[in-house]
Amino acid sequence: MARYAMVIDTVKCVGCMDCVVACKTENNVPEGFNRDWIAYETIGKYPNLHMEIRSERCNHCDNPPCVYTCPTGASHISDIGGIVLVDYDKCIGCKACIAACPYDARFIHPDGYATKCTFCEHRVVQGLDPACVSTCPTHCMYFGDLEDPNSEVSKLLQSRKYHVLNPETGTKPQVYYLI
């Protein structure tokens, strides 16, 4: 089975929020909410500063606490490359997943169900990249299958240094940040 992952090059990212806007229109994300966001993290004292800029979202964890905590089975790991999804018909909006997620990736849609980044599963099944990846003006985002050693994402992780978010939580996140 495929293991879909996103690799994001923080060296190229300028934090312009294009990924956030493209997600919003592609997925009709309601006003007041976003499924992805930008984190700007600055270390140091002026003028000796270092800044990392990251496009963040659901990490589609291999070990997803949101799935384990869901009382109805709405949150699940899909057959499509391990993407973590929510079956909106089964969701009762109890927010257990929101409490469990260490990335604050989820929110309750005004229609009452939990929602979040889907890795644009509807595009992926058509062979397209997620909307954020395909719009990024800096080409800093990559999407692909880590099971395939020849995929661009596999090669990037083999050749570059990277980190993931909150590795200490044991969630095995599948969004990787090149540094």
Binding site: D9, V11, K12, V14, G15, C16, M17, D18, V20, V21, A22, K24, T25, E26, E31, G32, F33, N34, D36, W37, I38, A39, Y40, E41, T42, I43, G44, K45, Y46, P47, L49, H50, M51, E52, I53, E56, P102, Y103, D104, F107, A131, S134, T135, C136, P137, T138, H139, C140, H163, L165, N166, T169
Partner: protein, 733 residues
């Protein structure tokens, strides 16, 4: 450490790095279709070009079941290369914005009281035509001035030229790029132009002086910037603020604001004294090197250190890097460059450094822009009008732009009635209240007018003062002038409607043509529908109009744009036919022919220099009503060095009022304490602090930098308004 979020619904608690904080969040093309309608089922893709800024990227509009769904970049288009910027993607929000202007309005009370009646187009245009004819009758055509920004104003300007108007101005010159174009024209005989002719993607080393690429989202330029980062280019960023670009730079020079020219002179000094310049190029192509060599002697890095605060060794090391990589290295000429009122001199220094690097039309520095040859439409000649433009009496500013005029020159003539009275303003697509420095002067001028007509898409501050407001269809709902931008390859782009306007908005060309008809100028419009005009021009160029409509863009044959491709270097447009290191034209007009540095004024005690710039998700004050883009960034903050903020007892998220040197008080604005700025200045995003109540999302969100810019220093060479000599202090709310 800082981290922040724009997601309204939560704050992130678990941080990956040590410390805590907040996160801020935020080709199947249907042939010959006009636009999709409510009855269209399924997905229809219609190509057009963007107007959310003036880069004019090719886009593809996706319409799902008759409703605008999303926008993507057009892969055939050289400017977007298939990817739009965040504002471009967010253009969808402009279509759905509930606060849009919906129908023509005619004022029914005092100007500024905002009482209107909804009018039909016939009424509104008849009323406007009557007013304009009365004013022309009484004061002559010279008493009418037009402010127009962007390609959409082309037809309106055509109508008014036919009416005898010559006083046109756009803020793109005296408030934005003017000093750069003048400096390069004086030096090379050619301008930089828009899109900029910089070859960032092939560059080995480049310096940005205050240019915040990545926050300034001109699409292909940002794409190239990222490419240069990936290629390992040596990036040098000179900025009082640790910008996004600074975070990508190998060298960050935390310069004292207003002292850039001192740094540039020191760079020239090192290039010459260390013999790092391109001798062959200088000998063959430049004029005045000996005068420059003599002049530059005192401007050592040690001298510049005192002015700029940049260590002499860092000054030497950075210019040596630029020199090592020549000719694939350059100093970026910037874009918004009206800073201190002596900006042409600073940009002349930039032009000179580039000449010393021998990089003109060389790969990795500058290319020679090429343009698709599309014949003009054969209109009848405009009437002969014999008067001087109002904004530059006696050629006070000898190098003022002719095409783009001097906005503030029209304003001051309107106030004083000198050299002659201005009685009507026609304003297209530019919110003068949030664009021109010193708002009181703008309002004073407006009060002297007999007639103010505004054409816009949202109820901006300038519409509040209008006598007639004409609501235009947004760029996704209209045909427009062709995009024939000079760029890396010749191309032409079409703007055509993706969806119909939702209310009684009309296309700009239609408004302009109808106004012409009512002014008795129908003979100036031999075509009835703009498609006749567009087809004529495209077919006269030997291209297929059907193909243009289907593909959105037609790209012409590649031509040499670099010396490396066989391009010959020539400079026929300067008096000496060389690159003028020593400007004979400036000397002739009594200005210093070699770039001069003036020490900027110091802030009074307890005050900080006010700097402003751009946020990637907004364009000027034009996008704060857009629900999608406001979900990204919905107010501006004042960036204050955190050490300074602590001294004032300020915390992140506190609100302050900014008070400037003239006692002008801003709307309340959120404090952002940060290490990313020098202690002697503060920074804010431009475009916020709207005071038009009809902009419900944007009303009193954040503060207006323009309101605080009461002082402006006019560049004596070209009349640009330097806007960075204002100082503010804080009052806690």
């Amino acid at each position: 450490m800082e981290k922040f979020t724009r997601r309204k619904f939560l704050e992130i608690s678990g941080a990956t790095f040590a410390g805590s904080g907040l996160i801020v969040g935020g080709r199947k093309i249907i042939e010959n279709s006009l636009y999709a309608t409510d009855k269209t089922k399924g997905i229809v893709k219609i190509p057009s070009y963007c107007s959310i800024c003036f880069w004019k990227c090719g886009l593809i509009g996706y319409v799902k079941d008759g409703k605008l769904w999303k926008l993507e970049g057009n892969p055939l288009d050289p400017l977007s290369k298939g990817r739009l910027c965040p504002r471009g993607n967010g253009g969808v929000g402009q279509h759905y914005d509930p606060d849009r202007l919906q129908a023509p309005l005619i004022r029914v009370s005092q100007r500024g009281e905002e009482q209107w009646k909804v009018a039909t187009w016939d009424e509104a245009l008849n009323h406007s035509a009557k007013k304009l004819m009365e004013i022309k009758e009484k004061y002559g055509p010279q008493s009418i001035a037009v402010f127009s920004h962007g390609p959409g104003g082309a037809f309106l300007k055509h109508t008014l030229r036919a009416f005898g108007v010559k006083n046109f101005a756009a803020p793109s010159f005296a408030q934005c790029r003017g000093p750069r174009e003048v400096a390069f024209e004086l030096t090379y005989g050619e301008i930089i132009g828009s899109p900029e002719r910089t070859d960032i993607k092939n560059s080995k080393c480049f310096a940005l002086i205050g240019s915040h690429l990545g926050e300034n989202m001109h699409n292909s330029q940002v794409q190239e910037f990222a490419e240069a980062i990936a290629n390992g280019a040596t990036i040098i960023v000179v900025d009082p603020r640790f910008s996004i670009a600074a975070s990508k730079a190998k060298y960050y020079l935390p310069i004292k604001p207003g002292t850039d020219t001192a740094l540039l002179l020191a760079w020239i000094n090192v290039l010459i004294t260390e013999n790092l310049y391109d001798k062959e190029f200088v000998e063959k192509y430049t004029y005045g090197f000996n005068q420059l060599r003599e002049y530059i002697q005192p401007f050592t890095p040690e001298w510049a250190f005192v002015e700029t605060g940049i260590e002499p060794e860092l000054i030497r090391e950075t210019i040596r890097k630029l020199a090592i990589h020549k000719p694939a290295s350059f100093v970026h000429p910037g874009r918004h460059v009206n800073w201190y009122g002596n900006d042409v001199q600073r940009l002349r220094a930039v032009a000179i450094i580039n000449a010393l690097l021998g990089n003109w039309n060389h790969k990795g520095a500058f290319f020679k822009p090429v343009k698709m040859d599309i014949p003009k439409y054969p209109y009848p000649p405009f009437p002969d009008v014999n008067y001087d433009v109002v904004y530059n009496p006696d050629s006070k500013y000898p190098f003022a732009g002719e095409e783009e005029g001097l906005t503030q020159g029209i304003r001051s003539a309107t106030i004083t009635g000198e050299p002659y009275p201005i009685k009507a303003w026609i304003v297209y697509g530019t919110n003068l209240i949030q664009t021109l420095p010193n708002q009181n002067e703008t309002i004073e001028a407006i009060k002297k007018l007999d007639f103010l007509m505004v054409i816009d898409v949202i109820p901006t501050e300038i519409t509040m003062w209008a006598d007639v407001v004409l609501p235009e269809a947004i760029y996704l709902e209209r045909f427009d002038e062709l995009n024939i931008s000079p760029f890396r390859e010749p191309f032409v782009g079409i703007r055509q409607p993706v969806v119909p306007p939702p209310h009684d908005q009309r296309e700009g060309w239609w408004i302009a043509r109808e106004l012409a008809v009512k002014l008795g100028l129908e003979s100036y419009y031999p075509w009835k529908h703009i498609e006749e005009y567009l087809r004529f021009r495209i077919e006269s160029a030997g291209l297929s109009y059907e193909q243009l409509k289907k593909d959105g863009v037609i790209v012409g044959k590649q031509q040499p744009i670099f010396v490396e491709d066989g391009l010959q270097l020539e400079f026929p447009f300067t008096p000496t036919q060389k690159i003028e290191l020593y400007s004979t034209q400036l000397a002739e007009k009594g200005f210093s022919p070699l770039p001069t540095y003036e020490r900027p004024p110091e802030p009074p005690p307890g005050y900080f220099r006010l700097l402003f710039g751009r946020v990637p998700v907004h364009t000027f004050s034009m996008t704060q009503s857009n629900p999608i883009l406001m979900d990204m960034v919905n107010e501006n903050e004042v960036w204050i060095n955190s050490d300074i903020g602590k001294n004032y007892g300020l915390n992140n998220g506190d609100f302050v009022v900014l008070v400037n040197q003239d006692g002008v008080r801003s709307n309340k604005i959120k404090v952002r304490l940060t290490q990313r700025i020098r202690p002697d200045c503060v920074y804010m995003y431009h475009g916020f602090g709207h005071t038009s109540k009809k902009l419900k999302r944007a009303y009193l969100k954040g503060a207006s930098d323009t309101q605080l810019i009461t002082r402006y220093d006019i560049d004596p060479i070209m009349g640009g308004t330097g806007m960075n000599n204002n100082f503010v202090t804080f009052e806690k709310v």
